[in-house]
Amino acid sequence: MSNVTYASVNVGDVIPALTKGEITRTTLGLFAGASGDHNPIHIDIDFAKNAGMEDVFAHGMLSMAYLAQLVTNWAPQTALRSYGVRFSAITHLKDRITCSGEIIEKFEENGETRVRLKLQAANQDGDVKLAGDAVIALP
């Protein structure tokens, strides 16, 4: 993964995709504890129904953590300069998230050669849940 260099990549290159396991109630329970986000809407079906939802649903930050893994599987985290996403749709139980990324820009900034990745997390039906980008410094 550390073999990626600025000269070796081109705009339009796609980085290796990452597909995660099915999201279960256990996934959400563990992530609530590990992430410190104890909002009951993700773990308590009674609370979720009172809020007008059919069931609990995934933390947006869970998919954002998955999408970060796509990036850190490709380039070392020490090279990550920025990372942002828009949560465009709710991720539900039984969804399987696939993360994908494409190089959309090569540029120099702050004395570094950098690339911008366009990022996306979508479920098994292709419904986009998160869209965003990351800037990575490459040697």
Partner: protein, 147 residues
């Protein structure tokens, strides 16, 4: 409507320790397969002084504040109505197990769309390590569903 006079308000100052056990739990909960995030020997072999905090982990550490929903209480927003709209991180320094990170937050914008059916609160958080170095900035947009 949320009172826009809250723009500029500072809140939620606190300090959190980056603990390796918690990093391992986060790695497990997110199905992490890269051993540098849960195996200290692998992290050191890859040149890291300790387990690294993954890219979104500081968001979790900011949730360690004594009342993570204080911003909602201040603005009288119902927890049942909120969604996470946007999240951005800008990174300046690496963060590792053993670091102690101090957080300060500020409301930087409040606006609405669709005639007030959706309201947005933007919160910017700065994270500083034990050496006084700013390690990251985070910007979170909270969406409030009215109606």
């Amino acid at each position: 409507m949320i009172d826009s006079s809250h723009i500029g308000r500072e809140f939620g100052a606190h300090t959190a320790d980056i603990e390796k056990g918690r990093l391992r739990f986060f790695a497990k909960a997110t199905g992490e397969t890269n051993p540098i995030y849960f195996d200290e020997e692998a992290a050191k072999a890859a040149g890291h002084p300790a387990l690294p905090a993954p890219p979104t982990f500081l968001f979790s550490m900011d949730m360690e504040v004594s009342d993570p929903f204080e911003i909602l209480e201040i603005m009288d927003i119902d927890l049942e109505k909120i969604l996470h709209g946007n999240q951005e991180f800008t990174y300046f320094k690496d963060v590792y197990a053993g670091d102690s990170i101090s957080f300060t937050s500020k409301v930087t914008d409040i606006f609405d769309k669709k005639g007030g059916a959706l309201e947005f609160v933007v919160k910017k958080t700065s994270a500083t390590n034990q050496n006084g170095d700013v390690v990251a900035e985070m910007t979170r947009t909270i969406v409030v569903r009215n109606g």
